[in-house]
């Protein structure tokens, strides 16, 4: 046992850990055994050059240690090795499960990423289509979704014209809030032609006095006027009649009539028009050419 300082002896353990004396002893022994002698400039590098050939030649190629190491590393017999069958079976099982031609490594990772991207895109499309069908998208997005889905034959509600008014599900082609009304029936008569009709009647009638007023007023009011019928209330009561002989509903004021009819055509005509009458006119309406 070489001499060791007390501080090193106290810290010396019995395990295989390396201490400072191991390194010093090994460096010294390695340099001493080398044919060229130690290298004072690089002692660590000298003992660190331990390759396999140097291990097998320790301390010389003909030593017993070298022969033992050479025997331990002797090449095995060529041919099947113990456990080869089980290993091949495990190899076949592993690659039959994953598939011999299945992509692996980067290709497999890319395939998984592609599948994930396709799945995410599909979910986004399905969600957008569902929201579009429910009319829950903003107006701009709803309009785009309507056009896009209409190209593939799917009808979804369009954007609402009034902010905050949700579209009704199932309404494929919603009608705008202000839609042009069909021009049929008595509403087809424009105020200009109606006025001309009343004017012509006033100038061409042969009636005079109360009778003329009753004819003109009845034509102008589409038969609602009861002018000239005083004392004849029980003759032919109109639906608006309250049953009282003296009950007379005055003709609506022009400005109130004008505001009651929201049709844009009224704005172009400063003349008041009579209110809409659900009943067909009593007086036949002359044609424009007549």
């Amino acid at each position: 046992m070489p001499w060791r300082p007390s501080w090193l002896r106290a810290r010396r353990c019995r395990c295989n850990a390396i201490d400072a004396l191991d390194v010093v002893a090994l460096v010294s022994a390695d340099q001493r055994d080398r044919p060229g002698g130690p290298s004072p400039d690089d002692p660590i590098g000298a003992w660190g050059r331990d390759e396999l050939t140097e291990l097998l030649a320790y301390p010389d190629p003909t030593s017993r240690v070298s022969q033992i190491l050479a025997a331990a590393a002797a090449p095995a017999d060529a041919g099947p090795q113990p456990g080869e069958g089980a290993a091949i079976a495990a190899f076949r099982a592993a690659f039959s499960t994953s598939g011999a031609d299945a992509p692996h490594g980067l290709a497999a990772r890319l395939s998984r990423r592609s599948a994930a991207a396709v799945l995410a895109g599909g979910l986004v499309l399905c969600g957008s289509a569902t929201a579009a069908a429910a009319g829950a998208l903003p107006d701009a997005a709803q309009q785009i979704a309507q056009k896009a889905l209409a190209s593939v034959g799917v009808h979804v509600p369009g954007p609402t014209s009034k902010p905050g008014q949700p579209a009704r599900p199932g309404q494929n082609n919603p009608v705008p809030a202000i839609a042009p009304q069909p021009t049929t029936g008595p509403q087809d008569t424009s105020p200009t032609s109606h006025g001309s009709e009343v004017s012509d009647l006033a100038h061409s009638t042969t009636s005079t006095g109360v009778d003329k007023g009753a004819v003109v007023s009845g034509t102008a009011s589409d038969g609602k006027s009861q002018a000239g019928q005083h004392g004849k209330a029980d003759a032919t009561p109109t639906p608006r009649s309250s049953g009282h002989p003296n009950s007379h509903k005055p003709t609506p004021k022009p400005h109130s009539t004008h505001t009651a009819n929201p049709r844009p055509t009224h704005t172009a005509n400063p003349r008041p028009t009579p209110p809409a009458n659900p009943k067909p006119p009593q007086t036949p309406k002359p044609k424009a050419g007549a």
Binding site: R14, N16, I18, D22, V23, L26, A29, D30, W47, G48, D50, E51, L52, L55, L56, Y58, P59, T62, S63, R64, V65, Q67, I68, L69, A70, A71, A72, A73, A74, P75, A76, A78, G79, P80, Q81, P82, G83, E84, A86, A87, I88, A90, F91, R92, A94, F95, S98, A100, D101, H104, G105, A108
Partner: protein, 186 residues
């Protein structure tokens, strides 16, 4: 030099990772002898089972492996070393080591005494088994498995210098073991 090293083992490793069974057989026959010797020296009772477990792990991770033949050999022995340590932990014991002292009794194996006599592989492994576990690990990985210092250090989780020191200490211990046996009377 093994016969398999006469051709490009790196290409063989790539082919085996791609699922080529023939390439896998070549790799198996290249690595299995050293693996069995390594395991028999460290755990003679369960060496075959440990080797089988090692190859199962290798096959499972073969598609994820990327490297050359040297890296593949280091990877296989890393798995084997882990299997050995797990076996020690499961059994609650570690292999008997000389703990720095040279063995004072003769081995049951017939170690050749004449320098000219051929030494069998099993006899050499039996002598390596007499060494402390860390030194035997380093010598086995360096000589039997054919790993360099860096790979041996990676397998054992030690530094390069630690591996070199353990190798030298193992060689000195092995020389002492052989000297002690040769001095014994016949």
């Amino acid at each position: 030099m093994p016969a398999a090293e006469q051709f490009d083992l790196d290409a063989v490793v790539l082919a085996a990772c791609a699922g080529d069974e023939t390439a896998f057989v070549v790799l198996f026959r290249e690595v299995q002898p050293g693996l069995l010797r390594y395991l028999r020296t460290l755990n003679s009772a369960d060496a075959e089972d440990l080797a089988a477990e090692t190859w199962i792990h290798v096959v499972r991770g073969l598609t994820r492996f990327s490297g050359d033949a040297r890296g593949f050999r280091s990877w296989v022995f890393t798995i084997a070393y882990t299997r050995v340590v797990d076996g020690w932990r499961a059994s609650g014991r570690r292999p008997e080591t000389a703990s720095g002292a040279m063995p004072d009794r003769a081995s049951e194996l017939d170690v050749p005494r004449a320098a000219e006599e051929t030494i069998s592989t099993e006899s050499a492994l039996a002598l390596l088994r007499e060494l402390p576990e860390a030194q035997a690990q380093v010598l086995l990985l360096r000589v039997v498995a054919g790993l360099d210092v860096a790979m041996t250090a990676a397998v054992l989780g030690r530094t390069h210098n630690h591996v070199r020191v353990l190798a030298h200490r193992g060689l000195r211990a092995l020389a002492a073991v052989v000297a002690a046996r040769e001095t014994l009377p016949l």
